[in-house]
Symmetry: C2
Subunit: 346 residues, 2 copies
DNA sequence: TTGAAAGCGCTAACAG
DNA sequence: CTGTTAGCGCTTTCAA
């Protein structure tokens, strides 16, 4: 069958212990022996069997990423960052998807007990205290990405501030009837962005109007951060007729794209009839000239992996919290550049 | 530490063999015993250790997906289909990414020898005869997706026919100066689509003009199926001035989006000055009204997994070839609907 | 420095 | 039907 450590040992005329030491540069081993063994390893094309090694070493060199649904573009960018960094550390990556069938608790329990992974990245996942307690008890290294819990390491973004700045930007363009389209409030970024939006209104003495807030949860089981949800939400705002807002802060770019479709269908113009600011800065935002709050998704993924690997390999103390900044990217949909030339593709 | 099969056995007052039989419903076991064991399993929250099981059983219940880069939107759709089906079969999914650092051969060898997965899906990966030979020798079940080799199972799409239909559609709109923007020719879909394009021209007595064909390989290391590449390629076509084509078949929607940006920047209009047909039907195609050839990405992923699992669990004969059909989705960028109303979001 | 041997936790063959 | 035992392939003491 496959070549094993015994084959290598026999061929090199040594014991299997020596082979193991050679390939792991562990213990002490004579340079000459090591060389000889490594030559045989290459000759036979030997590579340790992952399960055997995992069993003996209690480490799989695999990390798990748990994502709620395929949240789409945000997640893809993040995954890019994660994937690159993971493979840099010579780890493999298992993708766990939570949805209606695979409930979060089930997956977490499964992952914790099977010990198929050495650590986990939980993406945009709201954790209850109970769940956190279980996680900590299992001693499996965990890093939260795009969500927060005081007792776990996390990599997040300044959602409150970001939403605040976005809203403020709209206010500064002279708007006072400013709506918001948000994702489902079970998502904590969605909740926090709503706060930021409200704070900005309050600080500028603009009253919050319930009818100007639309929470997208159009499709059950999803988080509302998708194009259709944005489309539906904007339709709802447009039904307000002449009372409609003149500007809307949309909680994700992909929803903003849907929203703009709705506006266009109504024969209205962005930004003249309705100004829009999104959130995320996905690749397409640039293309369609969407003003948005950039979050450094790629870097977030990368950093989360760095931290996770650190937790796995070193003994570290808990309490890592990294909060990335968002930045306002002004393009055409907010009206600020109304009389300037279009931006270039870079 | 973690609860093992011994803990369960002791608590239930049986041997470990019995526990194993109970949780695997293998061998024969008295209903009462089984019940008792299962109760203890639940009580203790026992779950077999993946590595130990993998070692003993020689099966990991994991499948690997190898993708070249993150080919973007096409891949995301595919992954959706794959992920859903994989978890339906109770498998986990390891994502391997091939890029400059992680060369294809390295990854394949690694995967074949580590035996971390029970089977592999290779996405859009061109395989040499040599590689195929090694794959077959390893006896690891493999299914090719979006690429083809006579000696391996594969799930593909009618690229030639698709490109033919797209081009023909443009011809039928009255165009005779028809260009093509293609991905890098190391990608077999790119090559085959080029053939389809040429065939359509030939069958309609239109000469192939070298200057109307632009191969995007703008960014090294990528396959050209991205927005910037499409943008650059269209720029190049527009440099032809009044000799430029009046219609272009673009090999992927995401390139088409870039191409349309270039057209717009030149102050030209789609479809009046330049008609466009794309390929893929990614989610955004609908939004921007892009006429395109739809390929059933989700279904392709699903079917590939079905077949792979079949290969893993049953003894099957080689030679599975599924070719999905493409279908022309007429929207606004080809000019066919010039005088009709816009399409709706569905 | 190195070989031999004892597990790692589980499955599966083998007695009973 | 069920307990015992021999591996699965590797890492890691423990002597030598």
């Amino acid at each position: 069958m496959s070549v094993t450590i015994y084959d290598v040992a026999k061929r090199a005329g040594v014991g299997i212990g020596t082979v193991s030491r050679a390939i792991n540069n562990s213990g002490s081993i004579a340079p000459r022996t090591k060389e000889k063994v490594l030559a045989v390893v290459k000759e036979l094309g030997y590579r340790p069997h992952a399960s055997a090694r995992g069993l003996a070493r209690r480490r799989t060199n695999t990390i798990g990423v748990v994502v709620p649904f395929f949240t789409g573009y945000f997640f893809v960018e993040l995954l890019r960052g994660i994937q690159g960094e993971v493979s840099k550390f010579q780890y493999d990556l298992i993708l766990y998807n939570v949805d209606e069938t695979n409930k979060k608790e089930m997956i977490l329990r499964k992952v914790l007990q099977e010990r198929k992974v050495d650590g986990m990245l939980l993406i945009s996942l709201e954790m209850t205290n109970n769940e956190v307690w279980e996680l900590r008890r299992s001693r499996l290294p965990i890093v939260l990405v795009d969500s927060y819990h005081p007792d776990l390491d996390s990599v997040t973004v300044e959602n409150r501030r970001g939403a605040y700045v976005a809203t403020q930007h709209l206010i500064r363009q002279g708007h006072s009837r400013i709506g918001m389209i948000d994702g489902h409030l079970k998502s904590s970024p969605a909740r926090v962005r709503l706060e930021g939006y409200k704070n900005a209104l309050r600080d500028h003495d603009i009253g919050f109007r319930r009818e100007y807030l639309v929470i997208s949860d159009y499709v059950t089981g999803e988080d509302g951060f998708n194009r259709k949800a944005g489309y539906q939400a904007m339709k709802q705002l447009l039904h307000l007729g002449s009372n409609r807002p003149t500007a809307v802060f949309v909680s994700s770019d992909i929803q903003a794209i849907g929203a703009m479709k709705a506006i266009e269908e109504d024969g209205l113009n962005v930004p003249n009839d309705m100004a829009i600011v999104g959130f995320d800065d996905i690749e397409l935002a640039q293309y369609i000239g969407l003003t948005t709050m950039r979050q450094p998704m790629f870097e977030m993924g990368k950093l989360a992996v760095d931290r996770l690997v650190e937790c796995i390999t070193d003994v570290v103390t808990n309490g890592f919290k990294k909060v990335f900044h968002t930045s306002l990217i002004v393009r055409n949909t907010c009206g600020a550049l109304r009389h300037q030339s279009h931006n270039q593709i870079t």
